[in-house]
Amino acid sequence: MTEPLIFELSNDERISYQIPALDVPAIAPEEVIDSAYLRKELNMPVLSERDTVMHFTRLSRLNYSVDSGFYPLGSCTMKYNPKINEDIARLPGFARVHPKQPAATIQGIMEVHKLLSDSLAELTAMDAMTLQPAAGAQGELTGLLVMAAYHKKKGNTHKNKIIIPDSGHGTNPASVSMAGFEVLNVESDEDGCVDMEKLKKVIGPEVAGIMLTNPNTLGLFEKHAKELSETLHSVDALLYYDGANFNAIMGWARPGDMGFDIVHLNVHKTLSTPHGGGGPGAGPVGVKAHLAEFLPVPRIKEENGKLAFSSSDKLSLGSVVASNGNFLVLLKALAYIVQNGGDGLKHSSACAVLNANYMMEKLKAYYHLPYDRLCKHEFVITSENLADYGVKTLDVAKRLLDYGFHAPTVYFPLIVPEAMMIEPTETETRGTLDSFIEAMIKIAEEAKTNPDLLKEAPHNTPVRRLDETTAARKPDINWYKRPE
């Protein structure tokens, strides 16, 4: 059954909000505000609390989630989200604090900032952190703004290009444009790593920096990382480490030790904060000491034993959000670090890599594996071997939904046709991995014996394949202004 919209459930008379009656003498708004500026009409639904709760509960049941099943979405690190973190984020001493409260009343919050900054600096081998960016993509932008500020200070006005390997994250090129730079694409070699020969050919005085996703979106560790840093630094270019895939290497390797200057982490991937259906996340950025002065303000400073937020840095790039970042999300990340400790994080990463390699090994006889070498937290296989039966990656993905699994990331990275990017994370048992592997093998068989089963999949989800073409051609995106 289709769940009606709140607008369809509305009854204008069914008033159920609860606000104490106005207890001060009222004035007529038009006495002080020009009546042209007072609202004439407001279209909003009216529902009882019971109907509201029922509606949203029913909607929730139409979703797949980490809590309900295996979510091997590559590059997204859909690990289990510990419940204690939600309780911590709901402590009134954190949740019920106004961002403009005096410093003396937020010392605990500032300690959280400091503890998390210090922990992330240790994890990444960086010297200073900002917790401000609201998401990974904003972290990328922040890192690029740091680069821009650095080159501006040095008078490097000719530096306007950023190198991005073709195995980098999808957001990188758009972030580069947004920060006012141009993209220089560099291809990967046959090992799936940055092609150093090709890279050296594009290196020149106009190169401002590189953004390297490591492990890259093929799930492979960029073995030339160190050499890259020497090459780039020789032309005064900065190295940005896209840490979206950091879950593979916590405690095993650190961007700062590889010679990188800037790194961002996605706490909603690596540090277990929930994805919330697409946000909120947080994308803290770390930098080496020589770039600290460019970080966003306000920054935490220690003055006479008290912590305070300071905006005094003259060379700061400014701010990327109005507040100090998504505080409650950051808090959950710290809770995860504190609970796991250094050893726990290191073991978590190792088991994430173990799970990925185990699955890759078990699946490579049934699907095409373009890069058959040790992977990190994720790997890429394709449905190329099923092409003869008219089956595409999309069909495999949709059929997985019938088996009760979320699909892997599909058609990414772009450099592998018909890609399926699988990231199991460390929180899944071998039993879960085995059932997924079994389903994948069964689907490969079905592709041969009954390909229509795949092409018409999914069959038993709340809805089946949706008409995206009409949705884009005749957009219905607002109930109050539906197309005729």
Partner: protein, 447 residues
């Protein structure tokens, strides 16, 4: 202690065996020696759940909350009544542990909620469409400016200096590096005037940006600006408090092309500044310029109603460096929070919240005026926030804190010229008793 790793030692051994390995170290043999960390991380040892909770309880206890002190702080975040049902729904794992709805067939809950959110926001703003949300109020203006620049192919943006200075800082930081020219237009007596804009408002200007109500609480005459902007082929961007829009005329009805804002007042906890919710709505002419996710209604192969992410050709994962924005998530859970809030309050509830904010703020203003100990420099055309000039404001605010009040935001921190100016916000949550006590306590300190 890797509490959330379920592997038994036997399983690890067996899985490694499948790979022809003997230890977990072997999994890292592809990382060159020179890139490896050869010592343990300098982090504390892991602890159990109860120890973690106690650790954070101690930190939480070092903060004061808006339940400990009576809150008159605003400047972009407001202490409103939040219905209990919201958090119970947000805590459903099917919402908060889901990812971006890439597989639409198993994400209908998130997608339909986004469609509802877009409709509610469009309605509040008085415009044709909204997206699935942005990060927060400051960066939402950035996206609006970039949109306006793409549409008009112009690079200059005029921003009234009555826009929240925190937002203006974000706009400058990102837009100027992006290649836009941001001109802050100086205003007088806390309100933007058209005369100050007219000299700069020509055919090189992509957009004018105003806040409604503005940072000082004043209701700007946005229609006058929108009319004038239109003459120059310039777009009008309004940053609006969504609660105020239940009382004030929709910017879309006054000529605004893009309406953005901070959605925190819509039932979202104060949370020391985040996560909050950016929203953006625009006229239909700007549909192809909208950043971020948009959910659309459609049907499946059986003709059943369903929802999908649509118009994705605009977005970063397709257009790469030619995309208008790098945004690839939204604040889905916060958008859901706001959607549930608006549904629970409904049309009548939202109007009541707005009216009570307005009435109580004006009551406090009038009581302070009667008392005569502070100066009230701005006009009475304000919504729920106003400026008071208080002698020795910084010291007085400290004394008010001792008496249990977060009595207002010191504007000197934003602008040194505004020494002793305090921004006072009042929501529906404040009672007459609290307002009277505020006046009395302040009067006592200023005697």
């Amino acid at each position: 202690m890797a509490h959330y790793v379920p592997h038994t030692p036997d399983e690890i051994r067996e899985m490694l065996q499948v790979l022809g390995m003997v230890s977990l170290e072997d999994l890292y043999s592809d990382i060159p020696e020179s890139c490896r960390l050869k010592r343990p991380l300098k982090l504390e040892k892991g602890i159990t759940e109860i120890e973690t909770l106690n650790f954070f309880k101690k930190l939480a206890a070092k903060n004061k909350t808006v339940d400990d002190c009576i809150c008159f702080l605003g400047a972009g975040a407001y202490d409103h009544i939040i219905p209990a049902a919201i958090d119970h729904l947000l805590l459903r794992g099917d919402f908060f542990t889901a990812y971006t709805p890439y597989q639409a067939e198993v994400s209908q809950g998130t997608l339909q909620a986004i469609y509802e959110f877009q409709s509610l926001i469009s309605s509040l703003a008085g415009l044709d469409q909204a997206n699935a949300s942005l990060y927060e109020g400051g960066s939402a203006i950035v996206e609006a400016c970039l949109m306006a620049s793409r549409k008009t192919r112009r690079k200059k943006i005029l921003v009234a200096d009555t826009v929240n200075p925190d937002y203006l800082r974000v706009v400058r930081s990102i837009c100027e590096t992006s290649g836009l020219e941001i001109v802050a237009v100086k205003t007088k007596s806390g309100k933007a005037s058209l005369e100050d804009f007219v000299p700069s408002l020509d055919s090189t200007v992509a957009a004018v940006v105003l806040q409604y109500p503005n940072f000082y609480g004043q209701v700007e005459k946005i229609k006058d600006f929108a009319d004038k902007a239109k003459e120059a082929g310039t777009l009008t961007i309004i940053s609006a408090n969504p609660i105020a829009l239940a009382m004030l005329e929709a910017p879309g009805h006054m000529g605004a092309d893009i309406v953005v804002g901070e959605g925190q007042p819509l039932g979202i906890n104060l949370s020391f500044g985040g996560p909050y919710l950016g929203y953006i709505a625009a006229t239909k002419h700007l549909l192809r310029q909208m950043p971020g996710r948009i959910a659309g209604k459609t049907v499946d192969v059986d003709g059943k109603t369903g929802y999908v992410l649509t118009l994705q050709a605009r977005e970063q994962h397709i257009r790469r460096e030619r995309a208008g924005s790098n945004i690839c998530s939204n604040q889905a859970l916060m958008a859901l929070n706001a959607t549930i809030y608006m549904t629970l309050m409904g049309k009548h509830g939202l109007k009541e919240v707005a009216n009570q904010c307005f009435q109580k703020a004006h009551y406090l203003y009038n009581e302070l005026k009667k008392q005569g100990k502070v100066t009230l420099p701005c006009s009475q055309a304000f919504f729920h926030e106003f400026v008071a000039v208080i002698p020795n404001a910084a010291k007085v605010m400290e004394q008010m804190l001792e008496k249990g009040f977060f009595a207002g935001v010191l504007l000197e921190e934003f602008n040194p010229a505004l020494k002793d100016h305090v921004l006072i916000a009042v929501t529906e949550k404040r009672t007459k008793e609290e307002l009277d006590l505020y006046v009395k306590t302040l009067g006592g300190i200023l005697k």
